[in-house]
Structures are given as C-alpha cells and as structure tokens.
Amino acid sequence: MKPAHAASFTTLAVAATVGHTAWATQYLSVEQAQRALFPEATAFQPDDWQLTPDQMRAVERLAHLPARSVHWRVFAAQRGDQRLGYVILDDVVGKFELISYAVAVLPDARIKQVEILAYRESHGFEIRSAAWRRQFVGKTAGSGIEIGNGIANISGATLSCTHVTDGVRRIAAVAQVMLKK
C-alpha cells in the first residue's frame, strides 16, 4: 500500500468505526498501561510520530509488512530530564475483532515490554499471559519477532497471536526508523 493511500485508509477506517461500541475486556487504560510499561517514569508526554513516505518505505523494508499508518500515537516516558523510552499504542484485528495493545520501546528501539489493553475475541485470551508477552523483550524488528521464528504460537488463537506479533514487529521497525536517525 502506498503511504498516501495508507493514510487515507487509516482516516477512513477511523471515521467508519466511530460510533460503534466494542465487545471488549478492557484490561488496562492507556494511563495504566503507561505505568505498567515504565513504572519508574515521572511523566508521559504526548509525542506522536508522523512518518514521511521515505520512512514508511524503510519501515516496510525492516518489518516485511505494509507500514499501514503514517501517524502513530506515542508517549515519551520521562524521569525528570531523562528520556526512558516510548509507549506506542496500536490496534490489530485478531480473528474478527480489534486487539488494543501498547508497546514500550527503549531509546535504542529495542522492545522493553508489551501490554494488552483490550481484547475482544471469543477465544485466545491467553495472549495476555506474561509468559507469552515476555518473548518480545529485548528484540528488534530484525531479531525474531515472528510466529514460529522467535515467538511461539498459541494453540487455538493462531490468528490473534500472529497479528499481534506482526503488529509488534511493525512498531519495532517504526521505532528503529524514528529513533535511529
């Protein structure tokens, strides 16, 4: 997908979905997720990322996935003047429904932690288990963020865990492009 189309697609998708409610188990609010991801932080500043067409292409090369969004919802985690890292929010479709999750990346673009904010499918709640999410820690876009290659499958929730894993890999690539200038 070309970046311009991706942007308009995102806008359309958001516009189309406003007004619908979600079958959801909301586990964490954005604020709770921030605190879970960076417990040592004293402040979270909105720091949204806007990708240029060149950056979108770089993300696609790193993640082997469509870059999908031009705009990313990001919070910078601060401890005083020290930047601890970033919290990036995203949603992916599981089997039928959206899964909302947040990824913490360190300033060097490595994954610090993944938290599930809301899960809406009938099956596959196990992606919330800490043991499964721990597999992402310390990884980058190029170092085994793929089901069957670094991340183990969850039996009975293959699509949900595949799509979350792809989403985290895309975010790792976005972080790498935005942070390692």
Partner: protein, 434 residues
C-alpha cells in the same frame, strides 16, 4: 471694520459650530445604526452557532447514552478503535479421496461450506453463529446436510468470566473448537477426533468460562446430551464409524429429559505449549417408555497436549468414552450386527515441521499415527450370545499442508489402514477460512 469683521467671524464661527456639531451627530447616528445592524448580524450568527452547538451536544448525548461511559478519560480512545459490529466469516473444504487399490471408489466432495455471522450488541454481549452445508446438496434425495453448527450469545461479566447460552461447541480435544481446514493437518479430520470424540460436536445449553492471568482457561457447562434411543443396531450402523456421532442430537428437537455437564481445563502458561483435558457426562436414555436403557450414561474424557514453539508442531491426544447400563438393551437386540459398546477409546500422536516459508507460502509436512476402537468392550451378556470387542484400528498418515497466506490451504496425504489395506488411500484437499 475690524470690529465688524471680527464680529462676523465670531458669528459665523458660532453659526458654523452648531452646524458642525450637528453634522458629527448625524455621523454618529449613522455609526450607531451601522453598529446596531452589525450587532443584529452578530446576534443572528450567534443564534445559528448556538443552534449548531446544541445539535452537536444533542448528538453527543445520544451517542453517550448508547455507549457506556469510559471508566477513565483516556479509555475513549479504545472505544473509537472498535471494529464493525457485524462480521461475516466463512470456511470451506473440497476434498478428493482415491483408494490406491480400487480407483472405482475415488470421489470428490464439497465436504463443507460454512457461513458465519458474528454480531456485537454492546461492549460485553455478542452473538456467534455458523451455518453449514455438508456434501454440497441437501434435499430428501441427496446425501448432504444443512445444519446450524453454532448459535449462541456470549456475555462478558465484570470479573472477566464469560457466560454463554445457545448451541455451542463442546471444548473437548484439540480439533472440535478449532475445526477450520486451515487449523489441522491432513485432508480429513483425524479418526480419533471423529470416531471417539464426535466432530463437530455441539450441544444446546449454558456455559461459563474464564481465562486466568497464568494462562489457565476453565470451562463449565450444562447442556443437552446424547440420545441412545437413536442407536442403529444394523450392519450399516453409523455407530461403527463414530460411537457418539451416531447418537448425537445437534440441537435438533433434542430429547432433553437427561441433561449433561462438562468441564475443561486448558493451560497455555508456557509459550507454545498447550496442556489440557475435559470431561463430559450425562444420561442418554431420556426416560422413554419401553426403552431398555433408560439408566444409560454417556461419559467421555480426554487429555491432550500440543507443543508448537516454532517450526516444530507436536501433538498427542487420548480419549476414552463409556456407555453404562447397556446390557438389557443389547440383550433385547441379541445377535444384531452393531450392539452398543460399553467403552470406546483412541489416541494419536502427530508431528509436523515447517520446512519452507517464503513470503505468503508455507510448506509443513506431517506424520500421524492413530489407534482407535469404537467397540473396545461390551457389557457382559449370557454365555453364547456375548458380543465380541472390535479390533483396534491403526492408521498412519503422512502428508503436507501448503498454506497460502493464513487463510488458504492445499493439502495432500497418504493414509495407510493397517487393519485393511483395501482402504489405503491418497487424499487431496483445498480449504479456506476467514
């Protein structure tokens, strides 16, 4: 003269002064009028703006009324990120079976075509349905079936527990709740999970389940059960191929005097590992007048494990079922070709390995060995008319799944029937699921 001139000048000045004062008054009036006009304009604009704002407010209030208030302000973002309320899903499979020693029995079949609709009523309540055609054509003169495979409503409670009511899949084994062709290896579903655990097994009733933070999921349910009145004692009995498959009720005017309970535990606490088991038990006689097995109870339990850490995918399952109090019924039908077994059981083990993955394509060969017996034991009968236990059927399968993306699969396998090589066959299949 000077005086006169001065006086004139003063006079004219006096005369002019009121005149100029009058002029500026008129100007002022004009300005005031202008301002008043402008004020009217602003007032009109303000009224229009106010009207608009009220309309927006009303709309927002209406929306807020139809949506639960987010528990915290930032949660609003998630509400926006919800997908459409109604989703259509589907899966299907077209299979070709060719016995290697008797090609005259080769056949092709649109084995399954399924359409599903999921609808979310609100943030905690949704409906799941699946409608299925088996064997392409269903009519009084055809072999096909049309059936409601799932039809239930699920509600999420605040403590994370989920309750459902309707016709739903019993959480037994590895295949039953995950039965799309893209989810299992081989063209046909494995024998143990069709002959011993019926497939696709659903019952009407109520269920509760919850997934804990440690990866443990439990399920409990109260549902309809089997109806032993349906048992076919003839030589063509379906009971030979699938003990419970021949007496399942599938929510079709199901006899429900006797209800059944089930429970399942599945643990996914280690990435890639699934350990689980389930138990289902319920009366199967349904207090029918004149029926010789009204005390009969069907019980089925199984244990399963799957380990899929990466390219490797290992699984194993053991299932055993019993039907109690069948002696009188079998005695009544002494000498029949297919008496009711008192136990039936089976197990399989399977290994698959993803050998090739490029872009959208994935090739995963697999081997499976299974052993099953739909007539493992019979209730004791008087000497001379005792029923003989059936042989353990042994089947080896070797084949491969070739996935295109995550929704389309091409399958090929060879099945060796160790008890009867006339059944040995090659299978080809195509399936999809979304």
């Amino acid at each position: 003269m000077k005086k006169t001139t001065l006086a004139l000048a003063v006079l004219s000045a006096l005369a002019v002064a009121p005149a100029s004062a009058l002029a500026s008054e008129a100007e002022l009036m004009q300005r005031i009028n202008q301002l008043a006009a402008e004020l009217d304009k602003v007032k009109a604009e303000l009224a229009a703006t106010r009207q608009k704002a009220e309309a927006v407010e009303q709309r927002q209030e209406a929306q807020a009324a139809s949506q639960p208030a987010p528990s915290d302000p930032s949660a609003g973002a998630e509400a926006v990120a919800a997908g459409p309320a109604t989703v259509i899903s589907s899966y299907g499979e077209v299979n070709y079976n060719r016995p290697v020693h008797d090609a005259s029995k080769a056949q092709a079949d649109v084995a399954r075509a399924v359409i599903g609709i999921e609808h979310r009523f609100d943030d905690k309540t949704h409906m799941v349905s699946e409608f299925e055609w088996e064997h392409a054509v269903a009519s009084s003169g055809d072999a096909g079936e049309t059936e409601v495979e799932q039809l239930y409503v699920e509600r999420q409670f605040d403590n994370g527990m989920r309750g459902k009511a309707g016709l739903y899949l019993i959480p037994s084994g590895l295949l039953n709740t995950s039965h799309e062709p893209t989810a299992y290896y081989g063209v046909e579903r494995n024998f143990v999970e069709t002959a011993i655990i019926p497939s696709t097994w659903r019952e009407a009733g109520l269920g509760l389940s919850k997934t804990l933070d440690n990866g443990l999921t439990w399920d409990l349910g109260l549902t309809t059960g089997f109806d032993l009145n349906k048992w076919d004692f003839s030589a063509e009995s379906e009971g030979k191929a699938s003990t419970l498959g021949s007496i399942h009720q599938e929510g079709q005017l199901a006899r429900a005097r006797d209800l059944a309970v089930h429970g399942a535990l599945n643990w996914r606490g280690v990435p890639g590992l699934l350990l689980g088991g389930s138990l289902f038990t319920g009366g199967a006689g349904n207090a029918q007048s004149g029926f010789a097995a009204n005390d009969a109870r069907v019980t089925l339990w199984e244990l399963h494990v799957r380990y899929n850490p990466g390219a490797l995918d290992l699984s194993a399952l053991y299932a055993r079922g019993t039907i109690s109090d069948t002696a009188a019924l079998n005695l009544q039908n002494a000498g029949s070709a297919t008496p009711v077994p008192s136990s039936f059981q089976g197990w399989y083990t399977q290994a698959a390995y993803r050998v090739w993955h490029s872009g959208d394509y994935t090739l995963t060969p697999f081997v499976r060995y299974e052993q099953f017996n739909t007539a493992k034991t019979f209730a004791a009968m008087p000497a001379g008319i005792a029923n003989n236990a059936g042989p353990d059927q042994k089947v080896s399968t070797v084949g491969a799944n070739f996935m295109i993306g995550e929704g389309v699969v091409l399958k090929a396998d060879y099945q060796k029937f160790h008890n009867d090589s006339a059944l040995d066959r090659v299978d080809l299949g195509f399936g999809y699921a979304f």
